[in-house]
């Protein structure tokens, strides 16, 4: 009789433990993002802007993107996103996609200059890290185009928890998940100024830095690249 109990117990034990489903709230706002923004353009010089539309889970989706110059006396932009500097001044460019209930836009401020080395000057982006967990994550960062890639530089306010195993830094357009994210690598510096060079990525390709603990499957924090 005890043998039967024992066998039954073992079978029950072996049958347990199926993989279940965890529902992740991964909805984000749809956005249009200018991937290669600039902040200055020389009069008479043309520059091709690229933009993409990211859907409500941060995945790029084909949409027709409309371009608009706030002052066509200073700079023109055609519907392919090609800029041409006309006259000196400050203005801005808008890329937009109409949605059913609103307009999704990205705006790039622009200075038109008479004399500019290389005819164009790339725009820097940056932001501030924030912890979305109980683990420490803080610091300011900048994102700058460099040699066909980007350099992400953290200043001396940066600090991250050393307690986690394999804290990994990602670039992503959806800060709720690592799905579709670009993995930069495991974090090895946990305080102070440092930088990463990421090849073949443009300044505006990704919207967020994402810090994620892979062994825990836990999001630690993020930083909007603004």
């Amino acid at each position: 009789m005890m043998l039967r109990y024992t066998l039954g117990f073992t079978l029950l034990a072996l049958l347990g433990g199926c993989i279940g489903d965890d529902i992740i709230d991964d909805r984000v706002d749809e956005v249009v993002t200018i991937e290669n923004p600039i902040d200055s353009l020389q009069v008479g010089v043309t520059y091709q802007l690229n933009a993409s539309f990211l859907n409500n889970i941060g995945i790029e989706e084909e949409r027709e993107i409309a371009w608009e110059s706030a002052d066509e006396n200073l700079v023109t932009v055609d519907q392919e996103g090609t800029l041409e500097g006309i006259a000196v001044g400050d203005t801005y460019i808008v890329a937009h996609v109409p949605m059913s209930d609103r307009m999704v836009t990205d705006t790039m401020t622009l200075h038109i200059s008479e004399d500019l080395e290389d005819g164009v000057s790339g725009a820097d982006k940056g932001g501030q890290l924030r912890s979305t967990s109980s683990y420490i994550l803080q610091g300011n960062f900048t994102v700058v185009g460099e040699n066909g890639g980007i350099r992400i530089t953290f200043d001396d306010t940066y600090k991250a928890s050393e307690a986690l195993p394999d804290l990994v830094l990602f670039l992503t357009n959806n800060p709720t998940t690592t799905a579709g994210a670009y993995e930069i690598g495991s974090v090895e510096i946990f305080s102070g100024a440092h930088s990463y060079f990421v090849p073949n990525v443009e300044v505006g390709t990704y919207e967020y830095l994402l810090y994620y603990c892979v062994p825990f499957n836990v999001k630690v924090g993020d930083g909007l690249i603004d």
Binding site: I19, I24, N56, I57, P215, V218
Partner: protein
Amino acid sequence: MKYSITFLLSLMTLTSVWAGGPWPQPKGKGYFKLFEYWVVADQHFTDAGMIDPNITTAFYSTGVYGEYGLTDRLTAVAYVPFFVRNLYNNAISGTTGEVIIPGEAVNAFGDVDLSLTYGLVRDKPIVMSASVLFGLPTGVTGRGGLGILQTGDGEFNQMIKVDAGGSFQLAGINFYASAYAGFNNRTQGFSDEFRYGFETGGTFLNNKLTAIARFTGIESFQNGSVLSASDGVSLFANNAEYLAFSPEIAYHINEQWGVSASSSTVFFGRLIMASPAYSVGVFFTL
């Protein structure tokens, strides 16, 4: 090797539940148990002792535990988890319903613990024993696509432990109380640990039912080394600490056979799961 959060809780409970206390088995006598232990958790204690969510992970361990009296003072103890399953759930998009990150599981042999317990003081109101335990890295680590599934910790640890306790009667009911303290020397860069525990139990229904209240804890010596992530290795278990409460009920069906059930809840912890663990078993006394 990567060390998932799941494994810590397994260590925590498994190493406490089997404590034989300060009473060695008489020569030729023994206690053997077939058990199933499991924990399913979607949250954990952070390094600051706060509770944060995580993807649901689970750890199931099926194995045998045995004590056998080699002499009246010396008892051999073995803990053999012969089937261990570690998994994490699918992450499903709440927006699209699609699988974002597929869940995975690993099934394998777990880490075996072998120990010897020697009765230092016997037949006194307060008895004492000393134990030496060897934790063998017979489980697997670094499994699954993310390399985070494991059924062992990948390190060989050695623990020395001293137990003391006594039995007494209250209102005609048999009770006992015992406590232990131990030093666990861990390798592979894990921090060494101070382990301690206290338990008390009473027998009821003509000694057929035993109820136990058990408290166990770990304090880290904070002397582990964290390996560079660039080496493809990361450590988790370093510096984990907790204080847990584990009530247990054992029912003797007859003189030799019985069944038991227990749970384990962490009062305070750092870097361990924050969900209860459970264990059921069938035991046999020789």
